[in-house]
Amino acid sequence: MPDLGKYGFEVLSAYGFSLVLMAGLIWLTWRASRAAVRRLEAAEAQSDEH
């Protein structure tokens, strides 16, 4: 861990906030993608039945 001196709070909070937000965005994108795949598969299966 580098010595951040008197800027420790500023630097760590900037990195923490950014990484949490980016991880959240990636997770939400992945979750929405999976949900869309499932919904389309279900709609196609129902459409094929007819």
Binding site: P2, V11, Y15, F17, S18, M22, W30, A43
Partner: protein
């Protein structure tokens, strides 16, 4: 393609941030707070460039009525707003020890805050309108109007030449550009953020296309039953 682009972005961002955080020296004026540059500059750059990408795809929608371009703009907006939030937060926590305040109504900061509000409005408009084509039309017009603030966020310093915020950190002018020791990890991080955007917008656009197709199939099934 998406897994490859995602892997490249993960490597670039990891190397850029680890290099910048652990292996770069302190700045002689700003001390260790300079390490925030590896997040602040890439996120702010992406926040502006994503709006420009949305402007281009919105114009393609308005001129050519190409549905995928409207969906690509819609898919990009949540990524843009996250980048704007990161830039605003990192800028505020960096500004406090250096300028003595978290916020100032400086031309560049103010236009960036307005850009954030435009992102919010853009996403709210998509969510509020049921008819997809009408939503695409209205959000495209909003995007054109908001582009003024995307340009101002980038060039406010050049237009007014005043305020707390400095000009560009990355420049072809050697005098203006950051020193090489900061420049190398910064460029890696910047490219990594760009490639991450590419990966996310590809996934999100494909998600929007799937949802549109699923909606059409469900509507067709419902009309058969009726």
């Amino acid at each position: 393609m998406v897994p490859v682009v995602s892997a490249i972005s993960a490597v670039l961002i990891s190397v850029g941030l680890v290099w910048g955080f652990f292996f770069t020296p302190e700045d002689y004026r700003m001390g260790a707070s300079v390490k925030i540059i590896y997040l602040h500059v890439p996120s702010a750059t992406m926040a502006i460039n994503i709006w420009v990408m949305m402007l281009v795809t919105s114009l393609v929608w308005l001129v050519r009525r190409h549905h995928v371009s409207a969906l690509a703009a819609k898919a990009a907006a949540p990524i843009g707003i996250v980048m704007t939030l990161i830039a605003l937060f990192t800028g505020a926590v960096w500004g406090n020890p250096i300028w003595g305040t978290y916020w100032a109504w400086d031309p560049r900061l103010t236009s960036f805050m307005i850009l954030f509000l435009f992102y919010l409005g853009y996403m709210a408009l998509w969510a509020a309108i049921e008819d997809a084509d009408t939503a695409a039309d209205l959000t495209s017009v909003l995007c054109i109007v908001g582009s003024v603030f995307a340009v101002l966020s980038r060039y406010a310093f050049n237009f007014w030449g005043q305020g707390l915020h400095q000009g560009a950190s990355l420049s072809l002018d050697k005098e203006e550009n950051v020193s090489d020791v900061f420049w190398q990890p910064l460029v890696l991080s910047l490219v990594g953020f760009g490639v991450l955007f590419l990966a996310l917008v590809l996934i999100r656009t494909r998600t929007e296309i799937r949802l549109r197709r699923a909606g059409a199939l469900e509507a067709r099934g419902a009309s058969r039953h009726a």
